[in-house]
């Protein structure tokens, strides 16, 4: 400050006609001391945490409070750390705990799961954001944690868009020329499924009903345990994507008779109804339903089974922009992308956050009927709790930030958006 202003002030000439534009401004000033200052109230400290770490016991009273996820549960639910966004996970590591706020959308979904008639075809709940970064993935994690504690069968796809972005992973399928395999992504999915549901699969003795023929020599007979099947597929990684289809088939067939409640979750499912980054040798783009694993997972969304509950999220993260020459045409058709972004080649979705524009007509047709639930930005109470949580974890280091003035400034800059808040507070 001093450096620059001293540069500006450097005087060369003494005599000069004064500009008196502001000469008449004196009467307009007001006495600042006459403005009544609001005294800062010292409220009785409301709690911002709950000691209840079991999502089955959460009620409306705990709204806006933080609960700590048991580290064993966390490792079981997201063994590869995909279930939560990277930035949030980094912070959790620094805070030495995983604390998630209990919010209205997740409580609503849990309420729905409690009330649902399990004999009907699965109910689909679509979470959509009010704006960028309102914490959909965290809401979804809360629901998944509820399902885990309730001992439901978790069929969980934490980052649905990722498969379609790993172009190097994709290989043509040996059995079907039209299809594309994604071996490593599929084996990760299988491992996640196995780790999530290990206890239930052992307990119910979940065995295959059908025989699967992988090639002329290799096949898996009916009556194999599902964990053995997954173990086989993760060893013979070539058949991993086919095995995802087998798992889906078995789950859909047997969940009813075994009476296991199933929770199917997809994060950013709108990527399944758009283009991908996988490119064929003739430079045309592979559609998502030409990827073996995705096609198998899409069958979970069909209404031809029951004893299941489906929660999906749609968001700007799931919108994939094609990489090859179709990109230009695609951008012309979808006008709401910011092309003049700072990073070359990085485009941000800048359009309306509605179900129609995020999911597209194709996606709506595939998912219908569904219950849309909007995830909104923090309320005043939730903002205060988040702010106090950051202070509690020593995350706000600037001493101004811990005072009332700083709190007001954070509120002003971030407008109660969780992601903006994490970004703003991250460097203070």
């Amino acid at each position: 400050m001093t450096l620059i202003s001293s540069c500006l002030i450097r005087a060369r000439l003494a005599c000069r006609p004064f500009y008196r534009f502001y000469a008449n401004s004196a009467p307009r000033t007001i006495d600042v001391h006459s403005i009544p200052q609001e005294p800062i109230e010292t409220k009785a400290e409301q709690p911002f945490r709950t000691s209840i770490d079991d999502p089955t016991l959460h009620t409306e009273k705990d709204l806006g409070l933080f609960y700590t996820v048991n580290s064993d549960d966390f490792k079981k639910i997201s063994p590869f750390g995909k279930a939560l966004p990277l930035q949030f996970r980094e912070e959790c590591e620094a805070f030495n705990e995983t604390a998630i706020m209990i919010r209205q959308p997740s409580l609503d979904i849990i309420k729905l799961i409690k009330q649902i008639n399990w004999n009907l075809p699965p109910l689909k709940v679509v979470l959509f954001p009010a704006e960028l970064g309102v914490g959909m993935s965290l809401c979804l994690f809360h629901v998944i944690h509820y399902g885990y504690r309730k001992k439901m069968l978790l069929v969980n796809t934490p980052t649905a868009a990722e498969v379609l972005k790993l172009a190097l992973d994709a290989t043509p399928s040996p059995n079907n020329e039209q299809m594309w395999d994604t071996p490593s992504a599929a084996s990760t999915w299988l491992k996640t499924f196995a780790i999530n549901n290990e206890a239930i699969l052992r307990e119910t003795d979940f065995r295959t009903k059908f025989t699967y023929t992988w090639s002329a020599r290799e096949s898996t007979p009916a009556g194999t345990h599902l964990l053995d099947l997954i173990g086989y597929a993760t060893d013979r990684i070539k058949y991993a994507s086919e095995c995802v289809g087998a798992i889906v088939k078995e789950v859909k067939a047997q969940v009813r008779e075994k009476n296991i409640q199933t929770l199917v979750t997809f994060d950013t499912i709108n990527s399944y109804y758009g283009p991908t980054w996988i490119v064929k040798p003739d430079k045309s783009i592979v559609k998502p339903n030409e990827v073996t694993m995705v096609k198998a997972l899409q069958e979970l969304l069909l209404p031809d089974w029951n004893n299941a509950f489906i929660v999906v999220t749609i968001g700007p993260k799931g919108i994939i922009i094609p990489k090859v020459r179709e990109k230009h045409n695609w951008l012309v058709r979808h006008g709401h992308f910011r092309t003049e972004h700072r990073l070359p080649g990085v485009l941000m979705y800048d359009g309306p956050m509605t179900v129609k524009s995020l999911l597209g007509t194709e996606g709506i047709e595939a998912l219908e009927p569904f219950v849309p639930i909007q995830v909104e930005k923090y309320t005043e109470n939730e903002f205060n709790n988040q702010y106090r949580y950051y202070i509690d974890r020593n995350w706000i280091q600037n001493y101004h930030g811990r005072e009332e003035e700083g709190r007001k400034e954070i509120l002003f800059f971030t407008a109660r958006n969780p992601y903006e808040m994490a970004k703003f507070v991250g460097s203070r």
């Binding site: 400050m1 620059i4 005087a11 000069r16 500009y19 805070f95 995350w395 280091q397 400034e409 460097s427």
Partner: protein, 243 residues
């Protein structure tokens, strides 16, 4: 060669008369402004008074204050801010890192640097068992940065003075403004040298700052080298005042 000379592409054979306009250092300091001899554009602010710069200043201002009836200098948002998080040293670092006016980018880099430092230090803090252990950990990134700059600040600099047909490197005292600039410059330079190259700038910068705050690392080495060179050329120090 200045980068900006590439902005307007000439064929190398023809040399235009307006070539000097492509080099900012030749255009910035004009010799006339509004027809006044030997004046530049910032001289119009001679008659202006300093703006209100802090909230307390605003509250303590009385009706007879000069700012009510004299023209006031413009407020530069990046250097003079009402934000309670504003720190001049940070805007100094941003200003030194700045390339082609891309301030948003540099602010992001600095914020990510601070975040990286906080992730490391607060991770340690929250995992610490005893209270003494906790008190020994400095978590505030701005404090760490200030400490690093303080540790990296040299006390002398070398200048070149021609005498008897030879150039001598002469150690002379350094002004505080230039010392701070040199310290930040050293920090940034050692970050550019740092390895591995596939790491992000903010990761390496954070490490460099945290090293320098503990009086270790490449930055401190560079400062010591400046001091060593000054020590070697000590015999010529009197050239500063003896011609």
């Amino acid at each position: 060669m200045l980068k900006s000379s590439y902005l307007i592409r000439y064929s190398s054979f023809q040399f235009k008369r307006s070539f000097h306009l492509t080099i900012p250092s030749l255009t910035a300091g004009q010799t006339q402004y509004h027809g006044q001899k030997n004046s530049t554009w910032w001289d119009k602010y001679d008659s202006h008074v300093d703006p209100v710069q802090t909230r307390t200043d605003l509250l303590n201002m009385d009706d007879l204050d000069e700012r009510h009836f004299r023209p006031v200098k413009p407020v530069i948002p990046t250097y003079q801010s009402f934000s309670c998080f504003h720190d001049p040293i940070i805007s100094r670092v941003i200003g030194i890192l700045l390339r082609e006016g891309n301030r948003e980018l540099v602010e992001e880099l600095i914020h990510k640097t601070f975040r990286t430092m906080k992730l490391i230090q607060i991770g340690k803090y929250n995992r610490a068992k005893t209270k003494e252990e906790r008190d020994s950990i400095e978590c505030n990134p701005v404090t760490l940065l200030k400490q690093a700059i303080k540790n990296a600040t040299p006390i002398v600099r070398l200048t070149r003075i021609a005498k008897g047909g030879t150039l001598y490197s002469v150690p002379i005292p350094i002004s505080p403004i230039r010392a701070t600039f040199t310290a930040i410059r050293l920090l940034i330079d050692s970050t550019h040298d740092a390895r591995p190259h596939d790491q992000r700038f903010w990761t390496l910068f954070a490490k460099e700052i945290m090293d320098a705050a503990q009086n270790q690392g490449r930055t401190i080495k560079k400062k010591q080298e400046i001091h060593r060179n000054a020590e070697l050329n000590r015999a010529y120090a009197h050239f500063k005042w003896q011609k």
